[in-house]
């Protein structure tokens, strides 16, 4: 090995900065709610928990960075991971719903969201699958669909529409990047789009709901379906360039829904202004760049597709969240990676970044070490013929 394995420190730094900044903002956004929920006992309830999540997340990130990513290429590991994920997603339905959704598994004080794990599981599965099978052959693609459908279906019926969209995004991007035929892609996309249109078309109420994002603060929307997003715009708009100052958000005082999770970006916008929000946007841009560098620089096909899946998952989620908060897209419950409060998301995301960091170690050494990588089985077959 000619080159020393070197981790991408910029990727690590931007991730760590976002996560730590997230802890601080979670405190600012949740202090009043924490005080209210604990009847004035403490304002640090969410802060401490998030601090623990980040600590555990960093630990797992370190583990991910230290573990050679090829372990996920092993058939057994992929199968076990898939089975565990699907089982967990199924177990969710055994618990009573919170706010009308069954997303959590709870045991002795802990709770876990399997849908967070499903993003990583799907990424690993797709990377493995499209390394083994050709994305150009319709038969191979179709045979992976049942697994994808089970994952998506279980998440969709929780219901967790946001995560379903992210999973769909991961599938499309990985499939496309792996070398999908455009005709095949259109063949899949067309019915999906038609189904989505029909889904909205036959329910005027849902349609109205979806389209309310165009003017969330209108007379009829601001107190109804547009309320959350409208409050978010109030918060972000109020911030101006320099913001109201740290911890000085007024919108978090029970006007903004979930100011410490889904709408944490709005609190950042109000407290730290354009300077704060732009910093976050740039941080995600840096993350995208570093992540892409690690993914496309990976020494083998599996590494590339795995990296692409992870980066796509995190970026799509961030873009969705920001777009909802800024009323660019219809509202759906999606948290902001690294920043929003939430243990499952934090731990899984940071572990995923650990895998990316491990990938980044291998950048630039593929041509020497992996020349003899075995080709796709499909081509192998063809060669045999």
């Amino acid at each position: 090995m000619a080159k020393k394995l070197q981790m991408d420190w910029l990727l690590f730094s931007v991730t760590a900065a976002l996560a730590i900044f997230g802890v601080v903002m979670v405190y600012s956004a949740s202090a009043m709610i924490s005080l209210r929920e604990t009847r004035g006992e403490t304002g640090f309830f969410y802060f401490y928990k998030q601090l623990i999540f980040v600590a555990v997340g960093f630990l797992l990130m370190w583990v991910g960075a230290k573990t050679d990513y090829h372990i996920f290429q092993k058939k057994l590991v992929v199968y076990v991971l898939l089975i565990i994920t699907i089982m967990l997603l199924a177990v969710v339905y055994a618990f009573s719903p919170v706010n009308g959704a069954r997303r959590w598994i709870r045991f002795s004080g802990f709770s876990f969201q399997p849908s967070e794990l499903s993003k990583l599981a799907l990424s690993i599965f797709l990377a493995w699958y499209f390394t083994e099978k050709s994305p150009e052959r319709i038969k191979d693609v179709l045979s992976c669909l049942p697994v994808v459908a089970i994952l998506l279906g279980l998440v969709l019926f929780e219901p967790d529409f946001g995560t379903t969209l992210i999973l769909t995004g991961i599938f499309i991007v990985v499939y496309f990047s792996a070398g999908a035929k455009i005709t095949h892609l259109l063949l899949f996309a067309l019915p999906l789009i038609v189904a989505l249109m029909a889904f909205l078309w036959f329910s005027p109420l849902r349609m109205q709901r979806v389209m309310s994002f165009l003017e969330p603060c209108s007379e009829e929307n601001s107190q109804g379906i547009g309320y959350q997003v409208c409050q978010s715009l109030y918060a972000i708009g109020s911030g101006g360039v320099f913001g109201e100052g740290f911890a000085k958000s007024q919108q978090k005082l029970f006007y903004l829904p979930y100011p410490y999770s889904d709408f944490i970006f709005a609190v950042i916008g109000e407290e730290l202004g354009l300077i704060g929000t732009m910093t976050i946007v740039i941080a995600f841009a840096i993350f995208l760049w570093c992540g892409t560098r690690a993914a496309v620089g990976a020494p083998d096909r599996f590494g590339m597709l795995l990296g692409i899946g992870i980066v796509t998952g995190i970026l799509i989620q961030a873009l969705f969240n920001l777009s909802v908060v800024l009323s660019l897209l219809p509202a759906k419950g999606v948290t902001l990676p690294f920043l929003s409060y939430g243990g499952s998301s934090m731990v899984v995301t940071l572990f995923s970044v650990g895998i990316l960091l491990n990938l980044s170690k291998h950048v630039g050494i593929h041509s020497i070490q992996y020349v003899n990588e075995k080709p796709f089985s499909v081509r192998r077959k063809r060669l045999r013929n």
């Binding site: 972000i236 708009g237 109020s238 360039v241 354009l274 946007v281």
Partner: protein, 622 residues
Amino acid sequence: MPASIRKKDFRQETFVRFLLIVALFTIWLGIIGIRLVYLQISQHEFFKERAISQRRDKVRKRMMRGTIYDRSGRALAMSVKARSLFLNPQEIENPFIAAEILASVFKFKKEEILKELLKAKQEGKRFFWVGRKIEEEQAKRISETLQREAQAKGLSVIKEQITGFYWQEDQKRVYPLGSLAANVIGFSNIDDVGQAGIELSQESNLRGAVVRKWQERDRLGRVFDSEMEEKEPPKDVYLTISASIQHRVEEALKEGVEKAKAKSGIAIVIEPKTGEILAMANYPSFDPNFYSRFSSELFSNRAIQNVFAPGSTFKVVSYGAALDRGLIAPDEVVDCGNGVIQIADRKFKDTHCRKSFQDSIVVSSNIAAIRAAQRLGEDGFYSYLRAFGFGEQTGIELPAESTGILSQKERWSSASLASIAIGYEIGVTALQMALVFATVANDGVMMKPRIVKEIRYSEGTYRKMEPEARKVLEEQTASVLRKMLYQVVLRGTGRLADPDGYTAAGKTGTAWKYDEKLKKYNSEKYVSSFIGFAPVQKPAAVVAVVLDEPRTERRNGGDVAAPIFRRIMEQILPELQIPPDEALVAEEKIETSNTDFSEVPRVAVQDSDRKTDEKRRRKRED
């Protein structure tokens, strides 16, 4: 193709394809950046304003109106917290149910309230009063009942508020002592603006300023920041009135007026040394708590607003002025001709002749008073009338005070001097007359009458009203007059005014009322009065009692007003901690003969009524 090349191709393809995705992500991030600039720079003002306006509300609150106290700190008028209920007709979902609920809780007629409500709704009104100034306790009960009813009838109730129903914080004026001193205190209307009496004259002190308060609330409605306008709080007004004296005076007056079957009555109590009004009573009166139920005629304070011809009580002015100039002496015998003197075209008749001035005042001789004035001449007499303050306001802190009527000397007819000398051709208020006697009681020094003792500020400081004094008569004159007036009570027309245990001095008055229609004095309608002070040596209180149109057989001032004076004095002097003095001066008492006299001055002897009136002359049986 070697495997490595193929591999490289796949790498290349994936690289390009994913870069396409990354480009999309980057564009998306760019759009977010542009959106952020738009929201946080271009739309900053707009959203900030909207955000503030949703959590900020302006509360307009009127400070509690100041309290009116009597001299010893008893509240006469005060404001208490109350609430008012109004509807926003535009927000009422179902006017029929709303009307039904209101009708059941407030005892309204359902059809009427429904009609009004529908009309208001149609006209686009956003404000509809249901109940105003409901006291806190009651408001709470009503609110609960309303909520129960509303819930039962299916109206939406959110956070204890029925949609479209609003409670507003308010205040209510209450007068704890009811009608006591009502004509002095006055009342304030539903908007808390003084309409009469002290409430009106002290409006600027009592009025509670409207304070604007901005509150920032979180979404749960809890206030986390507020900003309040600084406004000077209202002041409290302390009156010179004593509630207990006022009460006794009102009782005595009421009884006296009813006994005399008079139309109305006035009684004033003044402390002569200071000019402070201890009591000012009107009968009949009203209850300011329910002022709307009374005729507005009852609201006026007749003690300072009603003008009447004083009649014989005015003779004190004539005597006083002449004595002051040294033009008469008490024991000088009055030349009264044959009992009839003619001045210009008018004849003045008197049955009392060949008496001293002292004895003349005892029997209320007209000619003696006219002679006294004649010696002064028009100029001299007029200057004393002005000095006593006739024809101008006394300046008491009460609204709508009358000046009385004193025509310019230049406009006097040749008979005017004589008429005024016996209390005609002049209009006075009861207070003006009371002040003449207060001047005599206070060694000739007239104190400006005062009813506001002090103004207290919320921070505990206060402004005392300073007394103002004016010398009208020489001390010697006042002393002589006091002795003369003492004789009136002791053995003259005012004997019924003599209080037990105390010496008292005063003068009766019985005047015909001037009839606007007949343009002359009507001998059928009297204003009977008694004004005096006690004790004689060191007067502690001046009491004026004036009855309008007494209708009993005996209705002279000495018959109907003097007993009221006596009762008042007997009750208030102990209250003022004045020791009885009658025993000390008993030896000065002079045996009185059964003098036959009439005190009603005859303005026109030609008047045929004279005879009927003479029949009414009293025979005193002591």
